[in-house]
Symmetry: C2
Subunit: 395 residues, 2 copies
């Protein structure tokens, strides 16, 4: 049994990750400042259903499974809050019998503002994104340096760090031959938003920590995640994860399916040739867990491209239109003027072998899988708000 600390444990991926580790017998502590929930309220975004507080979910989890997930509500932008999680003292005492103690073996770091459109709403949102994401990562890195150099960090990066280069995207590293000499470098990266750029910076920061302090880091370059259910969310409806279907926090496949159910044309930006790698939420959990089982070495920044297949936006739209129409929705596709600055047709050939090598068994985007998401979204169809799906946040 290991002690796992999940930063950002309230989010779309954080909470399911917590349950996934907990059900497997690990001691899990989740930390969150409710940024995502608060931002969803402030921005009036689309959430398919409401979810109980982290503490309530944790209590229900204990009732249903007999397992504890410890909850710390804390803003990790404050270095002192981060350091309390690593200094080995009993700093949090949130109920009589549940205390956070000791130094975690593994930290899963999801505690970031995760939306590209959010990061470009205006200068305040950009500032928040940069400061939050960099600061949490930097605070984590220094807490590890000062208290816990052996702790393995599993950090969520994004495939968007690479952008859409005209060469194959390797897993994190590339050997460059130049004028008869050669060296190995981080694969060149250029993000297309403040959010993506903040993740590039995270990687640079952790790479510094790995080199100068021998930290152990796995950076998962994740593609857009889709899906709504995991084995653990099925145990109780209170365990459902936060599901957004709006432009700001909703990822594309989830959003398109919701649009299909709501009778809102699928909003393809421009030509729709934008190609990305995707993965099921179940595979996110697998990838994190397998990385935990085979940790990075001391002084290693290990990078995996965390995707299992690639699609263009047009391909996704067609798949969802097909399944939607089979389910008697009247699905339409609308090619709207692209609000983003991005290539609408480009080369895209990422390598994604590392996670398969450590044992991940991919779930692909089959019609069955799409149907299963449709089914859950349909249960909430009356509550879907068309007015918040698209707002045209421009780059």
């Amino acid at each position: 049994m290991s002690h796992i600390l999940i930063l950002g444990g309230d989010g779309y991926l954080g909470w399911p990750t917590a349950m996934y580790f907990s059900i497997r017998g690990h001691e899990v502590t989740v930390v969150d400042n409710y940024f995502r929930r608060n931002a969803c309220k402030e921005m009036d975004t689309g959430m398919l259903y409401s979810v109980p507080s982290l503490t309530d979910r944790s209590n229900t989890w204990y009732e249903r499974t007999g397992k504890e997930i410890k909850v710390v509500i804390s803003d990790l932008n404050d270095p002192e809050s981060m350091r309390k999680l690593f200094n080995g003292k009993v700093n949090y005492d949130w109920s009589k019998d549940k205390k956070y103690t000791g130094i975690p073996e593994t930290v899963v770091h999801y505690a970031e503002q995760p939306s590209a459109p959010y990061s470009l709403i205006n200068y305040k949102c950009a500032d928040f994104t940069l400061m939050n994401n960099l600061r949490v990562t930097n605070n984590l890195m220094w807490a590890l340096r000062d208290y816990a150099r052996e702790t393995h960090v599993i950090k969520l990066g994004t495939m968007g760090e690479y952008g859409t280069p005209n060469i194959d995207i390797e897993e994190g590293w590339i050997e460059i031959k130049h004028k008869n000499r050669k060296d190995k470098f981080l694969f060149p990266r250029q993000g297309s938003s403040i959010y993506h750029t903040s993740k590039i910076m995270d990687t640079d920061l952790l790479w510094l920590g790995v080199r100068i302090w021998n930290l152990r880091v796995t950076d998962l370059m994740q593609g857009p995640v889709y899906g709504i259910e995991t084995e653990e969310t099925k145990i109780d409806k209170d365990f459902q994860t936060i599901f957004n279907y709006d432009e700001i926090f909703g990822t594309i496949i989830n959003r398109f399916i919701t649009q299909a159910v709501a009778g809102y044309p699928l909003t393809v930006y421009g030509k729709g040739g934008q190609t990305r790698g995707y993965l099921n939420i179940k595979d996110t959990l697998q990838c994190v867990y397998k990385s935990f089982l085979s940790p990075a070495k001391s002084g290693e920044l290990r990078i995996f491209n965390q995707i299992v297949e690639t699609f263009s936006v047009n391909e996704l739209a067609k798949k969802i239109l097909k399944v939607g129409n089979d389910r008697n929705h009247n699905v339409k596709i609308d090619h709207i003027s692209n609000p983003r600055k991005e290539s609408e047709s480009h080369y895209y050939n990422p390598i994604y072998q590392g996670l398969l090598d450590i044992g991940v068994k991919p779930n692909y985007l089959t019609e069955d899988v799409i149907n299963s998401i449709f089914k859950i979204v349909e249960e909430h169809s009356k509550k879907i708000r068309k007015d918040v799906i698209y707002r045209g946040i421009k780059w």
Copy 2:
């Protein structure tokens, strides 16, 4: 006559840059929050002499030259403070007849925490460095986006962004051929401190702004600067620039010369094979001015490697020992245990052609030049504090 805004206009390079533009007839506004002065006090660092406040220097400048340098004391970490400099309104009224008005044609951005050792003192200094440097750059970028997309930014980067790769260092960009395909990328970068990493992030951020908002940016990858005098500092002793000789803010050549004068052995870290590119403070001014005269185009991130020659630490120590002993100092060299994590012998071959192409005439590190710095340092020899020269801030 152009209107030039100098962010960080109180610093070692900022103030001489302000005078350089002012004497040439441009309307100059300097902005500073006195971070450097305050940090020097708090850290009890070594400054060769005290300098008058920015406002006092500006008033003396007006008396001696009849030219105005407008002063704004403001912390550009605050986005609103930054925006006031660009929104075209009369926001600062610091004396009856001197007002900041209008939108600057050129911004010279020095407003950063500039020390690698400072950035690694502890987690608070690291946090400050990241937040300050990124935030000022981001605030600048958004102010330009919202009010002044035609304004040319001259940003001070550092050669340290590249680190010491085993391939030639191009000027900012490299074409990578990989598996029979090719693309052009920012030259791979890996800094050896939080400070250097913050500058990599600045470049990534500005590159985003250039791509999505067509900003105009010149990023000067500057090597360590040395020297104490410019044509303008000679006009009045009140115009001398801040000169540090300590490990935190003192650059190596200035520091070694001061150590030689003080009878403190030159502190070579480890083997001393660390090689870098250097330039005279006079060339910093030339490089910025020539960049101003030939601005980057709209939608261009233009990168110059701002150095004029390269030396190893051993070569520098030998040069300073030679001149110091000729001047009857008893100079010793001490190879101390390296407090930094860095290669002590490595390949280093940077290209630096772009600035020569736009008209910079280099000043090299001749014995005459070293003698002229010695001469000024000797005038202050009695005040040099040996206790603050080296503190062993470890990486």
